[in-house]
């Protein structure tokens, strides 16, 4: 067995970091969760001004989701 394979095995076992793809997937999930939470907050908004602010926030969150 080559020594480089041993190193790779140890690296994978102890230090494997999430790949970029996995990180992006996780970020997308978190953003979707936040979007749903904001939608709920819009439904429960106390007044029009608050609802408008939350709608603007929702618009930005959706734009951010497109960037992921």
């Amino acid at each position: 067995m080559k020594i480089s394979k041993v190193f790779k095995g140890i690296e994978k076992l102890f230090f494997s970091e999430a790949t970029d793809e996995k990180k992006q997937e996780k970020l997308r999930e978190k953003l979707l969760e936040k979007i749903e939470q904001t939608k709920e907050e819009i439904k429960n908004a106390g007044n029009d001004e608050e609802a408008q602010d939350l709608k603007a926030k929702l618009y930005i969150l959706k734009k951010l989701l497109e960037r992921v």
């Binding site: 020594i3 992006q24 970020l27 936040k34 926030k57 930005i60 969150l61 960037r67």
Partner: protein, 584 residues
Amino acid sequence: MLKKYYFHFFLLLLALILFYSHNFKIIIAGVAIFLIGMLSMKEGFKHLSGTVLEAYLQKSTDTLPKAILSGFLATTAVQGSTLISIIVISFLNAKLITLLSAVGVIFGSNIGSTTTAWIVSTIGLEIDIAPYAMPMIIFGVVFGFSENKNIQAIGKTILGFGLIFLGIDYMKDGFESMQNSFDLTKFKMDGLAGIFVYVMIGMIVTVIMRSSGAAMALFITAVAANQISFLNGIELAIGANIGTTTTAIIASLGANANGKRVALAHFSFNMLYAIIAIIFIYPFSDFVNFLASKIGIDESNYAMKLALFDTTLNIVAVIFVYPFTNLFVKYLQTLFVDEKDEIEKPLYLDNIVINIPNAAIEAIRKEVAHLYDNAIEVIAHSMFLHRHKFIKSADLQSAVKDTDTTLNTDINEFYTNKIKSLYGDIIHYATLSQEHMSENDQNRVYDLKLASREIVEALKNMRDLQKNIFYYLKSKNSYIQEEYNNLRVYIAKTIDTIEKIKEHDDDFDVISTIELLKESTKALDNIKNSRIDTLIRENKIDSKMATSLINDSAFAYDVTQKLLQVATILWIKDINIRTLGVQT
């Protein structure tokens, strides 16, 4: 000059000892191997435990008992109190922990550093460890060939352990063979003279070795080989505890007030340890003998008894100082107060932490935030506003209209005194710190450098804006006055929003607020909208006013975008979310 001659004399003396005594040569070689081992092990641990250790120390030090326990556990884990002291000073500078917690960690760290003595006296001397040392050294070196830095760090740790055990074995062999030819016990000294001489020797040996762990290993091995009496061994241990503070004191000379306070706390604690130990040396050695018999340490096992003495006395000293710690910390806070200077100095860039990636990044981030705060002061003044009047104001528009034209801020002077030198220091420190960093950490530092540059450029844009703001605020043309007020409102709103962002914990809330503001400030880009065209067509402003407004709107837009970019870099914690914001 004198120091140079001392060093030459020391080298000559060392050469003579090595030439004339084979046994001393073996012992000193053992000490050298032991020291290299400690260095290698510390480097390995430092890399492996960096993030975890720092996070642990930051979160587990909110009360004094917790701080002491954390100091003990962290030092035991990394086998070195110096690294812990450095991290503690960096956290204190970054205001992540209080001085009380820092002092607590130092107390705990002193107890933790005695575990080296236990390793030497148990595993090192009781077990024939040399056969295990060789494979450890071989594997340590082979692991070092890996390109992965984490595996290299494991290699350094294993290599360190191997060299430590090999070093102990050499020392043991040296002292044992010395028994046949040279008897050190004939230099045994009792009474006050013994205390004075052996404490001094312990101190000097530790200062030369720059490690109390290595010095204790040497003393314990000598005691185990019956070359030094147990009582003289105790006196050497007391000297080692005093000697170890000299490294911290020398390091603190170049440090800031917090670094000096922690070093003084460390020195005072160890001096107290020494005083208690010297006054009660005989009853205490009896107590250690009694304790040793109770926990099953053999009566003739002086090596373990010496380790027990070191640990017990450190615990007793902590118990003794515990009720006075609050008072002591209050006193420390009155010392080393930094003098105010015309030229702004960095608050967080401590050279002592430059090689610890996470601590260095946090120091740079805090310093850039400091630079930002300075810049905001001058940006507000150059718009003829006081920060406290519009930040968090319920009616920002009215607050901005409350202009104070007596605020005659010279941006150039302010830039020279409060920005230029600080900016230079940040860039210099950040560049040096990047040398020891992984690619990800280097990128983070690059972003922080970028944020500093954005702050400086925003300030330069304000310098160009200031003259016209002053001129048109006094204009009799209400339209142009209104337009310039608008520019001020946009910039003030950006500053105000960023202040609110600082208090948010949810990164998504922060980024959505920043992005919303970016959208709304697009209105400033007047060339793209028809507002200014209407004013010209309807003859409400003349051509000179129009060109000034077009230029200044672009400057104001630039200022807001740069400040928002800085906020994204400084106050969004999650790297993936931050990247989403920096992309635009």
